[in-house]
């Protein structure tokens, strides 16, 4: 016999102002099976929870219904309350009478009636709830960090410092990421390399960290606590264990016309190269698209000059499979392609550059050795125009991104300031829509650019850039002055929007982690679980989750590491008990459920069954691994016989809710 308790929360006046809570309690008290129905100002308060606990004990309740705020808010809280009273925490249902009733309806009578109906549905469901016990599965004490930029490096260092093994998988030949390409960093103007390279070295030397550079994740299986990951180690045609990084090969290679990706193609390098001086690992690699030996079989200069015999033209990609307890995505960002912005003449004139290209043009290790020279004729630009929001906050199809890229306002202030500092005779103009500086010392930094360095900020966008006679005629608008300024510039710098690295999309599929419409990874909760992906055991670090500057990235990297450490320090993890479960008596073994399972949680076994005629028969039936199943329910609908059901959201429970609502 069911003994159900109903608790109606006032939530102060949040619910009680629109819903007649007393009437709800009174009406629901008459429902079959309900032995207690009461209301209380704040159910989630200590005294409210005590009241529920006491009622469970005193009334020997078999099920609890709480009419309150959304279960997404307090389901976990009340489950603990129920459990403290000795009742299985899954014998609880919450009727959402705040977000989905009192807050969206104005008429008191209507809202009260709806609250009663929602309460009835919860009662109907809880009557059918079964006590659920969450299973446990073991944890492999090793983490995988995908991406070796500042986010990945920091996450790996923090995890490793806590004593756990970490592998960093980086698709490029060195770790370091975008930060390694930057010149200075805002708002302190420290040199990026000076603060990054020590961390790169720390990572390389850490006994718990294993760097797999020039590698990519190819497949991910398993689940939180024991992921099985296949990693492709791309052939670099250089034996990583033998190469000393002396660099002789990179000087002797006769193929000199290779666009240098580290300098964004602003200069060239050889077909065999070490990405940059402080690369980690400091090992050469051959670009097979340019290497004469690999393309034609004739050359072999690098092999001849290498004193340790590290060159191996026959090297092949290899696959490694490893197990991990947790995975961190740190795939980062890149600037968008500006191919579609013909009005800004990017690609038409070499003197229209992106901000990242400007970083290289100002960097001592860059193509101009740190002297700011414009690419076309290697002269000092005297007038420089910065254009903000190129592709950011843009809702056009196929051109830009709808979001704010967040970092551009600050790095442009930095660029403008550095240029004015070093070349006071240069005039700098910044066309902007808004200047966004919500960070510590950020606005002060921007104001310094204006007040101390005399950078001209112009409110308005640029409409067209016309290259003519060695100048770039910039036509913009100055909305405050009501003018259409035309500036003859020597160099134009476009603050290109940033977008997630394209490798993130396929990685998300491998990880079954979800993404938003812009291909940024989504958080488990935008406010309360910002570094976890909704997929258990997968964490997010850095700009793969959204545009971020370096301090934010490092903070998030640490937060993700803390979550990973928390997970890895446990021997077992508790699984979600609301998983699919097959009724073997009814299962046809047809494999439909297996085909739609995104997690590979379903396998089949041949089992003996007693038939109605007392004979036994061998039948193929589905088996669900409860540690792998995430409880989506796709299988339950694919199953024609209804043998597959979902605990906590069973066919019968949902239909009981339907009946209660429609009656």
């Amino acid at each position: 016999m069911q003994r159900i308790g109903v608790f109606v929360c006032h939530c102060g006046t949040n619910i009680a102002a629109t819903v007649d809570v007393a009437q709800v309690a009174e009406t629901l008290g008459k429902e079959p099976g309900v032995v207690l129905a009461t209301d209380y100002p704040y159910m989630c308060s200590q005294s409210g929870q005590d009241m529920i606990e006491n009622a469970i004990r005193e009334q020997k309740l078999t099920g609890v219904v709480i009419c309150s705020c959304s279960p997404r808010m307090h389901e976990a809280t009340f489950r603990k309350t129920v459990a403290r009273a000795g009742l299985n925490p899954y014998l609880l249902e919450i009727a959402n009478v705040r977000e989905q009733c009192s807050w969206v309806h104005k008429d008191r009578e209507e809202a009260t009636q709806k609250a009663i109906i929602l309460g009835r549905a919860a009662i109907a469901k809880v009557t059918l709830n079964a006590p659920l016990v969450a299973g446990e599965s073991p944890v492999v004490k090793r983490a995988l960090v995908i991406g070796g930029g500042i986010a990945g490096i920091q996450t790996a260092l923090d995890i490793a410092d806590a004593g756990f093994e970490v592998d960093i998988v980086e698709k490029e030949a060195t770790i370091g990421g975008k930060m390694a390409q930057l010149d200075k960093t805002f708002p302190t103007l420290d040199c990026a390399a000076c603060i990054l390279t020590p961390k790169m070295v720390d990572a390389a030397q850490h006994e718990k960290i294993n760097i797999l550079s020039y590698s990519e994740v190819e497949a991910v299986g398993g689940f939180v606590g024991s992921f099985r990951v296949k990693i492709r180690r791309k052939a670099r045609y250089v034996d990583e264990t033998k190469c000393t990084g002396c660099g002789l090969c990179t000087e002797k290679c006769p193929q000199k016309a290779v666009p240098n990706p580290f300098n964004l193609g602003l200069d060239t390098r050889r077909a065999i190269a070490i990405p940059f001086a402080q690369a980690v690992p400091k090992v050469a690699y051959i670009d097979p698209n340019y290497c004469t030996m690999l393309k034609t079989g004739k050359c072999g200069v690098c092999s001849k000059v290498c004193t340790v015999g590290a060159i191996d033209y026959k090297q092949q990609d290899t696959l490694e499979e490893r197990e991990y307890g947790a995975i961190v995505a740190a795939t980062g960002y890149r600037p968008i392609s500006l191919e579609k912005y013909g009005e800004y003449a990017y690609g038409q004139s070499p003197d229209v550059v992106t901000s990242l290209e400007l970083e290289r043009l100002m960097n001592a290790a860059g193509p101009t050795g740190g002297t700011l020279l414009r690419p076309s004729d290697r002269t000092h630009p005297k007038t420089i125009v910065f254009v903000q929001c190129v592709g950011s906050r843009c809702e056009e199809d196929g051109r830009g991104k709808p979001y704010c890229s967040k970092i551009c306002c600050m790095y442009t202030a930095k660029h403008a300031m550095l240029i004015r500092e070093k070349y006071p005779d240069t005039e700098v103009y910044v066309f902007y829509i808004d200047v966004r500086t919500p960070g510590k010392n950020f606005d002060e930094f921007y104001r310094r650019a204006v007040e101390e360095y005399g950078v001209h900020y112009i409110t308005g966008q640029v409409g067209k850039i016309v290259p003519e006679n060695g100048k770039l005629l910039v036509q913009g608008s100055d909305l405050l002055a009501g003018m259409q300024p035309k500036i003859a510039a020597d160099l134009v710098v476009l603050a290109a929007a940033i977008e997630p690295d394209p490798s993130a999309r396929s990685l998300a599929t491998l990880l079954t982690a979800s993404m938003d419409t812009n291909d940024f990874f989504t958080e488990a909760h935008p406010k309360l679980r910002p570094v976890e992906s909704p997929t258990a055991g997968v964490f997010l670090s850095g700009a793969c989750q959204g545009p971020k500057d370096i301090p934010e990235t490092v903070a998030q990297a640490g937060a993700a590491a803390a979550k990973v450490i928390g997970l890895l320090s446990r021997d077992h993890i508790v699984c979600n008990p609301c998983v699919a479960t097959p009724n073997e008596q009814m299962c046809n073994g047809c494999s439909s459920c297996e085909k739609v399972c995104p997690y590979g949680a379903i396998t089949y076994a041949d089992k003996e069954f007693r038939m109605p005629d007392r004979t036994t028969a061998l039948r193929r039936v589905a088996q669900v691994n409860p540690a792998v199943c995430q409880g989506c329910g796709a299988c339950t609908v694919a199953c024609p016989s209804g043998a597959m059901d979902l605990l906590g959201f069973s066919n019968k429970q949902i239909m009981a809710e339907v009946d209660a609502i429609c009656r």
Binding site: M586, N588, S592, P640, G642, K652
Partner: protein, 321 residues
């Protein structure tokens, strides 16, 4: 007769321990599926003719789980059902020996009886049915009395077999089997509703369609599941007829080979196959051509997706009001 001789040969050589075929039923126009365990039995009562409309596939689920090998004779239609059931791991392929039999169409007994009143016996002779009737011998052209499914035959290809009697046929992409579906789609919603009310309200929930359907081979049907509260037996309200037939069609969607058995056995002559064909046609047009049972590997449309599938708002089952 080739088929019968093959059955005798298979049994007497010991190659198989049982043969699944047809025997004479209650009436001369009614051939019924039967299992034969000896050559003598076959000799005595095995019958094969264009009246052998019954699809034997479903029987193989149980038969293939018994001791020994069972042989079965498959018309092209039946072979699709068998392959589909193999794909669903329902038939144990290693325990069955499949003999393909080409088919020129099967007879609609009702049509035959209309064409030959007072029918007492019937035999086939090269495309003609020679009928003994109370009023003397009558010859009826086979093509005149075919079942609807055979008139619009989708394929004469036998897709799975261990042995073939005669030549294998071809798929027939020119089949006009969806014409009847389109006809209904072209009605107004009111007319469509009236049409289906007229048809479905005759349902007596005898479950013949379910029992004969090779795709409806669940260990327990949802409509028999008292625990779930979805069981129902007699149609007490028009809702239930729709409920049962929509869900049944939905459950077999992507698995139904369009063998037409549901309509063949319906005692109320409800054109149930049109529901299945509607699903097949929608899946073909929206998600690409798919024929259930044509192979063992392809993923049925209901268990598959494309990122750029159409939205449900695009779903139109016919003309709009």
């Amino acid at each position: 007769m080739q088929v019968k001789e093959k059955a005798i040969e298979l049994l007497s050589s010991g190659k198989v321990s049982r043969v699944l075929g047809w025997k004479q039923g209650e009436f001369c126009y009614d051939l019924t599926p039967a299992v034969f365990e000896s050559a003598e039995e076959v000799e005595r009562s095995f019958v094969f003719s264009p009246l052998a409309g019954a699809n034997l596939a479903k029987y193989l689920i149980a038969e293939s789980r018994k001791e020994g090998v069972v042989a079965a004779f498959l018309k092209p239609c039946d072979s699709y059902s068998v392959l589909q059931l193999c794909k669903e791991h329902r038939i144990r392929r290693e325990n069955v020996y499949l003999v393909g039999v080409p088919c020129e169409g099967t007879v609609d007994p009702d049509l035959l009886r209309e064409n030959a009143k007072g029918l007492t016996a019937v035999r086939e002779a090269g495309g003609t049915l020679v009928c003994d009737t109370l009023y003397g011998e009558k010859r009826v052209d086979l093509s005149a009395v075919l079942l609807e499914r055979c008139k619009v035959c989708k394929s004469k290809k036998i897709v799975v077999f261990d042995e073939l009697l005669g030549e294998n046929g071809e798929e027939n992409p020119q089949s006009t089997r969806f014409a009847a579906v389109e006809e209904i789609e072209n009605l107004t919603p009111e007319e469509r509703y009236a049409f289906w009310q007229k048809e479905l309200s005759r349902c007596i929930r005898c479950n013949a369609c379910r029992n004969v359907c090779p795709a409806c081979s669940c260990e327990t049907c949802v409509f028999d599941n008292a625990k779930l509260g979805t069981d129902n037996k007699a149609p007490a309200s028009r809702f239930e007829e729709q409920y049962f037939h929509i869900i049944r069609a939905f459950h077999v969607a992507g698995r139904c080979t369009d063998c037409g058995e549901c309509s063949r056995v319906c005692p109320q002559k409800i054109p149930l196959h049109l529901l299945n064909r509607k699903f097949i046609r929608d899946m073909n047009t929206l998600y690409g051509q798919y024929q259930a049972g044509a192979d063992e590997e392809s993923l049925p449309p209901m268990l598959d997706f494309r990122m750029d599938d159409c939205e449900p708002s695009a779903a139109r089952g016919g003309k709009q009001a």
